[in-house]
């Protein structure tokens, strides 16, 4: 089976989370490997979150804001 990465994405409620919503409205298709966590600002993302995600098996972390 091909490699299926697990990616954790932190999305700002006011921009990138809204953009992900609009991508849905526009029915844009993208790989299913992303799990989005909503935050109130990308500045809220503590370095520990990134360490946590990587140490628990995430292959990548995205911070979008």
């Amino acid at each position: 089976m091909s490699f299926e990465p697990k990616i954790v994405a932190f999305c700002c409620n006011w921009c990138s989370y809204a953009a992900a919503d609009l991508a849905g409205t526009a029915r844009m298709q993208y790989p299913h490997n992303i799990r989005i966590i909503r935050v109130m600002c990308s500045g809220m993302v503590h370095p520990e979150f990134i360490m946590d995600a990587l140490s628990q098996g995430a292959d990548g972390v995205m911070i979008l804001g």
């Binding site: 029915r27 844009m28 799990r35 109130m40 995600a53």
Partner: protein
């Protein structure tokens, strides 16, 4: 969205006003509501109907560049987000019994083929007309080839081509053959400043700026694209617009060609277009382009002209609502107000400002009836759940087939039931429908649920709804989490249903993990001092103070000098010819006589403490006397100041004067002015150049007005206006036209070839490069009038620091958001108006002052303001007062507290002002010790989501 959701706003869509009768305070408005053929209470905008509808027609929203179906929503963000059937193209409505596919696929049963037109009679106290504009249709003008050559498009169509949601998904291709575009030309003033082809003599004000924006975006989309803008005058007179144009020129490489192109022809090569024009050197040039964009102007639609006639609203010669410059949102009918492009072409920031100004005027008229008809919802008492074991209820939404068509919702239901602490799971066809809401409320009560997960769409649109549902069920509104299995899942993974189902399970697991850690939160209530403070006693400050007072609230007006009036005391006429001293005297009288206004002259704000609703400003007057004013909101209207020139030998030649000096001499009938036969005006003195790259907005109109008066007085005078771009924007264009007709000579100069002013004996000589002859030309002048810039006040940033409000790079006060919050500061409770914000003419200052007042009274009319509970909270156990968070907090909401404990040990920690905190969590992201967290987004909550995301 906010409008659609507001309890006290009733939206009537597909509706048109057919008559307005009555008088201010008591109007009857007749509204015709066209049938939608879809029941808005049932439609959940799943889009199944559109998928099945077989009828395709041109999409108006895509400016005919794309297609839509006969059942459709106008655009993705439409409010209300409900489908509608276009009766002119629907097969079924045209032929009963035919088609009807939409009805078959609508699980919500929302299709109403027998819907009919309704008429509403509405009793209101005031009316605001904001019917907007239509874009000029260049088809009939023929010369542009629009409608003949497919590669000639309008700016509106280009806007859609450049949009990711547009007909080409943001790819810039030629409509004729779908080939990529390499060379694009924008033609300005199509349907504007043109009495011959379309009869629209006015300037549409917005096209220069949108053309630059579109050119820059197009260049971003297509690397190597060549973009040229053909123009007569670049009118980028708005705040930061000139800087934007400079960036477009220098960084993006947009080419600007000063020339009116007279027509578009085909190049012979398939699809290519040819433009012929005369360039700066006087040569005839021919160039070929892939795509020609017509920058179309704005005009009042026919049905609006009819409405104006029905309502007895007077119009200007250019067919816009006639208003006075001192009450710019008041139409000719008392009680009927206007805003937006109906009162003259204008851009979005100015429209938003006018919208608030119209609200202020309505509020002034209806102040005695405030809160009489408004409603608030009431909820049962909240059940205390802190000591209960968690009982999670998961509700999985099908969203018709939007989710269930891709995700195996039964599998998700089964999976959710296996998660820890989940005691109840069910599926709903539509979780958001009214009947499901009622059922949810009941289930929460019956099953004693104390944590809720809604697996459906996005919390950005639907969380408020489900929070209300929890409140109705007696549960704290913050005990709900949403799993976004539609927008972030079924809609974007429709071709991989198995993976989408697995992802839905993950998203539900993440939401459950988080909701288990949710705690009941209470919105924070902050009391409000129902008094206003206005700083600055000019036109803007007085207008704002008067409106606040007339709305019924006490207000303090602080003026630095010993006289009210500000810069307007130096002005004579507004652009439309209204006499400023008369209007100003009237305003001063009204302000002075109003008992709710306390005027503090010779006074300045010297110290400030507090926050929204609770400011304490110290005012220092003569002899350093101090008083402290408590106020709930404040408006900064401190104005600007005139630039004192050093160029053009202003210091050494007495007959080189500024425009304001000239006005005074002219009024006094001074000999030099009276006898002057040759007068030269020089524009942009201190504006639009390095260090001051902004347009002072008023000077072109001012010079043209003076020139007209001088020429009318003595037609034999030679009057020259040396300019860079004539910016008589909007309906002011009529003045420019009149001046040209009267024989005023306009000579264009470039920034690198500024005119030279010298004195030889009794003559003044002005040397300027003639742009037609390409040779320097010398004008003899009896007087030279410098159109000098408006500067920000030098002490603006000092005042800014007191209220923690910023000034921009030019030194003017910076609003919170150019379009969304054009009179608000980022500091809650503080607002800006007038030239403190940017140079502007009287009527725009008045509008902005009314807008600021409307925004301030929104606060002042309440006794307390409820703030969302998503705020930072300090954990004193971990916070050691390192203060790292204080530096990063963008809202200045954190302060350091130092105290000595009983045992003598020093104790340091931070304090958060909840009224200032916006819950962004920069503090939480920065804190090395977990000493601060944002309620609802705590470290454990997000960590639980991360672990749950990766658990499978």
């Amino acid at each position: 969205m906010e409008c659609g959701r507001h309890l006290n706003i009733q939206l009537l869509t597909l509706s048109e006003v057919s008559a307005i009768s009555g008088e201010a305070g008591n109007f009857t408005v007749t509204v015709k509501e066209s049938p939608r053929y879809v029941d808005p209470d049932k439609c959940i905008a799943c889009g199944a109907c559109t998928d099945k509808c077989p009828k395709k027609v041109d999409n108006e929203y895509d400016a005919e560049a794309g297609k839509r179906k006969a059942i459709y929503v106008k655009y993705a963000q439409a409010v209300p987000l409900k489908y509608q059937i276009d009766p002119n193209s629907c097969i079924r409505l045209k032929k009963p019994g035919a088609c009807g596919f939409c009805e078959q696929v609508c699980d919500a049963g929302a299709i109403l083929f027998d819907d009919t037109e309704k008429t509403h009679e509405i009793n209101v106290g005031a009316v605001v007309l904001a019917p907007g504009f239509e874009v000029y249709d260049p088809t009939d003008a023929k010369v542009w080839g629009y409608g003949v050559f497919p590669n000639v498009i309008t700016s509106m169509q280009l806007e859609r081509y450049l949009a990711a949601s547009g007909p080409t998904e943001g790819h810039l291709v030629r409509p004729s053959d779908g080939k990529p575009v390499h060379k694009i030309a924008f033609l300005q003033c199509i349907g504007s400043r043109d009495e011959n082809l379309c009869g629209n003599g006015y300037c549409s004000s917005v096209c220069c700026m949108y053309a630059i924006k579109e050119a820059v975006i197009a260049k971003d989309h297509v690397p190597g694209l060549s973009a040229s803008i053909f123009y007569m005058d670049m009118r980028t007179h708005g705040k930061d617009f000139d800087q934007y144009m400079e960036r477009a020129k220098n960084d993006s490489g947009v080419r600007f060609v000063r020339c009116r192109v007279n027509g578009v022809e085909t190049d012979g090569v398939e699809g290519d277009l040819r433009l012929s024009y005369v360039n700066d050197d006087g040569r005839q040039i021919e160039e070929s382009y892939d795509l020609v964009v017509l920058s179309v102007g704005l005009q009042t639609p026919k049905h609006v002209l009819e409405l104006a006639q029905n309502a007895g609203i007077k119009l200007t010669a250019d067919n816009f609502a006639a208003t006075s410059d001192f009450s710019p949102v008041q139409t000719s009918q008392q009680g009927i107000f206007t805003c937006g492009a109906f009162a003259g072409p204008k851009d979005i920031p100015q429209c938003v400002v006018e919208g608030s100004a119209a609200a202020a005027s309505v509020a002034e008229l209806l102040a005695p009836a405030r809160f009489e008809l408004s409603t608030e919802v009431e909820f049962p008492d909240e059940r205390e759940v802190a000591d209960e074991d968690p009982r999670v209820g998961v509700f999985v939404c099908h969203c018709g087939s939007n989710i269930a068509g891709v995700v195996d919702v039964e599998a998700v239901e089964k999976y959710a039931a296996t998660l820890p602490d989940v005691v109840y799971v069910e599926r709903n066809l539509f979780s958001c429908s009214q009947d499901t809401q009622d059922m949810l409320t009941q289930t929460i009560r019956e099953k004693k649920l104390n944590r809720i997960v809604i697996a459906a769409c996005t919390p950005r649109t639907h969380e408020p709804l489900f929070r209300e549902t929890l409140k109705a069920a007696g549960l704290n509104e913050y005990l709900v989490e949403m799993a976004n299995i539609r927008n972030h899942n079924s809609w974007v993974h429709s071709s991989t249903p198995k993976a989408a189902t697995a992802k839905a399970n993950d998203l539900v697991r993440m939401a459950v993990a988080k909701v288990l850690l949710n705690k009941a939160l209470r919105p924070i209530a902050v009391g409000i001092t129902q008094t206003g403070l206005v700083i600055g006693g000019g036109v803007a400050g007085m207008t704002a103070a008067l409106n606040i007072a007339k709305q019924g609230f006490p207000v303090h007006l602080v003026e630095r000098t010993d006289v009210l009036g500000g810069n307007a005391r130096d002005l004579k006429h507004t652009w439309s010819g209204e006499h400023i001293p008369t209007a100003l005297a009237n305003l001063v009288k009204l302000v002075s006589e109003n008992t709710k206004i306390s005027i503090h002259k010779n006074a300045e704000v010297t110290a400030v403490e507090g926050f929204v609703g609770n400011f304490r400003s110290t005012i220092t007057g003569l002899n350093k006397s101090k008083i402290v004013i408590e106020h709930g909101a404040g408006i900064v209207a401190t104005g600007g100041e005139p630039y004192v020139p050093t160029e053009y030998n202003f210091d050494s030649i007495p007959r080189v004067v500024t425009a304001i000096q000239f006005d005074k001499l002219y009024e006094l009938n001074e000999t030099h002015v009276k006898q002057a036969e040759n007068l030269v005006f020089i524009q942009c003195v201190g504006s639009r150049e390095k260090g001051n790259m902004y347009c002072s907005k008023v000077c072109c109109t001012h010079s043209v007005q003076s020139a007209i008066a001088l020429k009318k007085e003595n037609p034999n005078r030679n009057i020259y206006i040396l300019y860079r771009d004539m910016r008589t924007y909007g309906q002011r264009e009529s003045l420019y036209r009149e001046a040209r007709k009267l024989g005023v000579i306009f000579i264009n100069y470039e920034l690198h070839e500024k005119p030279k002013v010298t004195e030889t004996g009794s003559d003044i000589e002005v040397e300027v490069m003639d742009h037609v002859l390409h040779r320097p030309m010398t004008l003899k002048a009896d007087m030279v009038i410098l159109a000098t810039a408006i500067r920000p006040r030098k002490d603006a940033s000092t005042l800014g620091k007191l209220y923690k409000v910023p000034v921009d790079s030019d030194g003017f006060f910076q609003e919170a958001h150019v379009k969304l919050k054009p009179v608000d500061f980022s500091t809650d409770g503080m607002f800006v108006a007038g030239m403190a914000h940017y140079p502007k003419p009287v009527e725009e200052s008045v509008t902005q002052a009314l807008a600021a007042s409307a925004r301030a009274v929104t606060l002042l009319s309440k006794t307390e303001v409820a703030l969302d509970a998503i705020k930072a909270t300090v954990d004193k156990e971990f916070c050691d007062g390192c203060a790292l968070c204080i530096d990063v907090c963008p809202y200045h909401a954190i302060t350091l507290k130092e105290e000595t404990a009983e045992d003598g040990s020093e104790n340091k920690y931070i304090l958060i002002n909840k009224a200032q905190c916006k819950g962004c969590g920069l503090c939480q992201g920065t804190c090395p010790k977990r000493g601060v967290y944002v309620a609802g987004f705590t470290m454990p909550q997000i960590k639980a989501q991360i672990s749950a995301a990766l658990a499978a």
